[in-house]
């Protein structure tokens, strides 16, 4: 099931005799599949072609001709190398922080609260609550809380834990902080789903065999929740690597924190340098695809959706 995040039931697929009504299947599948081909697959092809374009001979800004100009990739890697590395660096760091933050919380909801169904449901509502308020506004709220004249900086400066001229917003720290915060629900939910199903008798068996709680955790709980961890890591890493809100100058970042998403946006929507934007998108996509292919190989295609 898709990253194990949305699966609430584990009922085995009902194996039915293949009905030979191919027209019905076609009627059910075709509209949606055509839609996805037209608005998901074709755009990726379009992006690939765009990434190889060269400037039009007429010299107009934003006008390009089809070509096989793979030099575009060399140019963007040279020009935006730091942004690309920064994106993956920030995304990896945020994913690690989100995992460390979320695992105990998912354990609390999935195991400790298990006997209290209503409390468990309400705790899950609290975890997904950020989804119900605008992504942009909650990021702006952090910007204002962490701002120079905001409560956190004032407090830290009063305690002399922070130099008077130091800032939080606009730094790598605040961008990673924002990425971590914004994708926490994506980490908590799949880990919770794994731990919810964890049979506690295995844990008891560990204790009965005189394993310390730490050993039981390492040898029993952690391996059994690994599918949730993997799903959570992907669900956090993918949007974090492509995000450009947190790193944007008007939100938690500055020009020094621009990520790959920021340069794709700037090249596409502002500079009208479509080939550069397309090439950068493809570089991002290929890294994600490598990660995804490991995941698909492990879980098989049938359980993807």
């Amino acid at each position: 099931m898709a990253f194990g995040a949305f699966a609430s039931t584990e009922a085995p697929a009902v194996e039915q005799a293949p009905r030979r009504k191919s027209r019905v299947v076609l009627f059910l599948l075709l509209p949606g599949i055509l839609y996805l081909l037209l608005f998901f697959a074709v755009p990726l092809v379009s992006l690939a072609l765009t990434s190889l374009q060269q400037p039009s001979l007429t010299g107009d800004i934003g006008s390009y001709d089809y070509a096989f100009n793979w030099q575009n990739y060399v140019v963007v890697i040279e020009r935006y190398g730091p942004h690309i590395l920064r994106s993956f660096g920030y995304a990896v760091t945020a994913t690690v922080f989100a995992l460390l933050f979320s695992y105990p919380l998912a354990y609390f909801i999935g195991v400790t609260l298990r006997p209290y169904r209503l409390l468990q449901g309400l705790a899950l509502v609290l975890v997904i609550a950020p989804f119900f308020i605008s992504f942009l506004l909650r990021t702006l709220a952090w910007k204002q809380i962490l701002a120079d004249e905001g409560p956190v900086v004032s407090f830290l400066q009063a305690l002399q834990l922070m130099p008077a001229d130091a800032q939080i917003t606009g730094t790598a720290f605040s961008v990673i902080f924002g990425l971590t915060y914004n994708f926490i629900p994506f980490m908590v939910l799949p880990i919770y789903t794994s731990l919810e199903r964890l049979d506690l008798r295995y844990v008891e068996a560990g204790a009965d065999l005189y394993a310390s709680p730490a050993t039981t955790f390492r040898k029993v709980t952690l391996p059994l929740s690994a599918p949730g961890i993997i799903s959570g890591v992907l669900l956090t890493f993918i949007p974090a690597a492509g995000d450009y809100i947190n790193a944007s100058r008007d939100f938690l970042g500055s020009t020094d924190t621009a990520m790959i998403g920021n340069v794709i946006e700037a090249n596409f929507l502002v500079l009208q340098n479509y080939p550069a934007a397309a090439a950068l998108s493809f570089i991002l996509m290929s890294v994600i695809l490598v990660l995804i292919s490991f995941y698909v190989r492990r879980s098989g295609t049938e359980d993807l959706v």
């Binding site: 099931m1 898709a2 990253f3 949305f6 039931t9 009902v14 019905v24 059910l28 599948l29 509209p31 949606g32 599949i33 839609y35 996805l36 608005f39 998901f40 755009p43 990726l44 379009s46 992006l47 765009t50 105990p104 919380l105 909801i109 400790t112 209503l118 449901g121 309400l122 509502v125 609290l126 975890v127 609550a129 950020p130 119900f132 308020i133 605008s134 942009l136 506004l137 702006l140 204002q144 809380i145 915060y181 844990v203 204790a207 949007p239 690597a241 492509g242 008007d250 939100f251 998403g261 596409f268 929507l269 479509y274 934007a277 397309a278 998108s281 991002l284 994600i288 295609t301 049938e302």
Partner: protein
């Protein structure tokens, strides 16, 4: 099992973690009551004016209306297309099944910036004028997969005996579907529609690439962020938040009550 000290430490940690998660939400709601004139950054005192005159601020309500329009149309389209695919996936075997699941999975695994730039490149090549229409096309695309996942889980959890009973009573396949299967799927379809609407309503990145001159609520906030967000934007977001939370909690509590009733039988 968590025992003694470990258990208390976990409880304390979780309370702190929940508080942390809620901080920016509480902040946003509190600042919807701020008596700020234009830039809503510093607390200037409590007022209800923002709530009473939401539409006074230039563009907030128009953007909200556009977001609702886009969300509703995209949700309807994605729910219909996605539900049909989900039924086909569970109930029929067909060729290209692997390719189909991959095609459904990849949009969920592709970064939004790539989806947005790809569609924008396509619209550019095809010479399509960007606007509300292109936003709807984009939103429908990324919602379909989530609908399939949600509805499929529901179909798989259905008790096949119910449909068998319908067939035993000489129901035609169409009758069995419309009188038994479909009504049982409605909760799953509703959940899928709500998820789609939520995804569409809060989407910024894909929208920004394909909006042209159209302004949705997240786009309005993004543009306003540079010069300061008017408190009316906080009002709209807070109202949506409160409505969503009330719906979710009512559903939670009522399903808990139903479980209790069923357990008592």
């Amino acid at each position: 099992m968590t025992r003694g000290f470990g258990r208390y430490a976990l409880i304390v940690y979780s309370v702190i973690a929940f508080t942390f998660i809620l901080i920016p939400i509480v902040y946003t709601i509190v600042f919807s009551f701020n008596d700020a004139r234009r830039t809503n950054i510093i607390w200037r005192g409590f007022t209800l004016d923002n709530w009473l005159n939401v539409c006074q601020s230039q563009g907030v309500c128009e953007a909200f209306g556009t977001s609702i329009l886009v969300g509703v149309v995209a949700t309807v389209l994605a729910t219909v297309l996605g539900t049909m695919i989900a039924i086909a996936l569970v109930r029929y075997r067909f060729r290209f099944r692997k390719a189909t699941t991959l095609l459904l999975f990849l949009p969920m695994a592709t970064p939004e910036v790539v989806l947005g730039a790809g569609l924008a490149a396509e619209f550019l090549t095809a010479g399509v004028q960007k606007g509300v229409g292109t936003i709807i096309l984009a939103h429908t695309m990324f919602c379909i997969s989530f609908v399939v996942v949600t509805v499929r889980a529901r179909i798989e959890s259905l008790d096949p005996a119910l449909e068998e009973a319908g067939r035993d009573l000489y129901g035609s396949p169409a009758q069995v579907f419309w009188h038994i299967t479909f009504p049982l799927l409605i909760p799953g379809i509703m959940a899928a529609a709500l998820l789609s609407f939520a995804l569409s309503f809060d989407d910024f990145i894909i929208t920004n690439f394909n909006a042209g001159p159209a302004v949705t609520l997240p786009r309005y906030i993004y543009t306003a962020a540079a010069r300061g967000i008017p408190p009316e934007a906080n009002v709209v977001a807070s109202a949506v938040f409160i409505a969503a939370i009330v719906i979710v909690i009512v559903v939670q509590v009522s399903s808990a009550a139903r479980r209790k009733r069923l357990a008592a039988l």
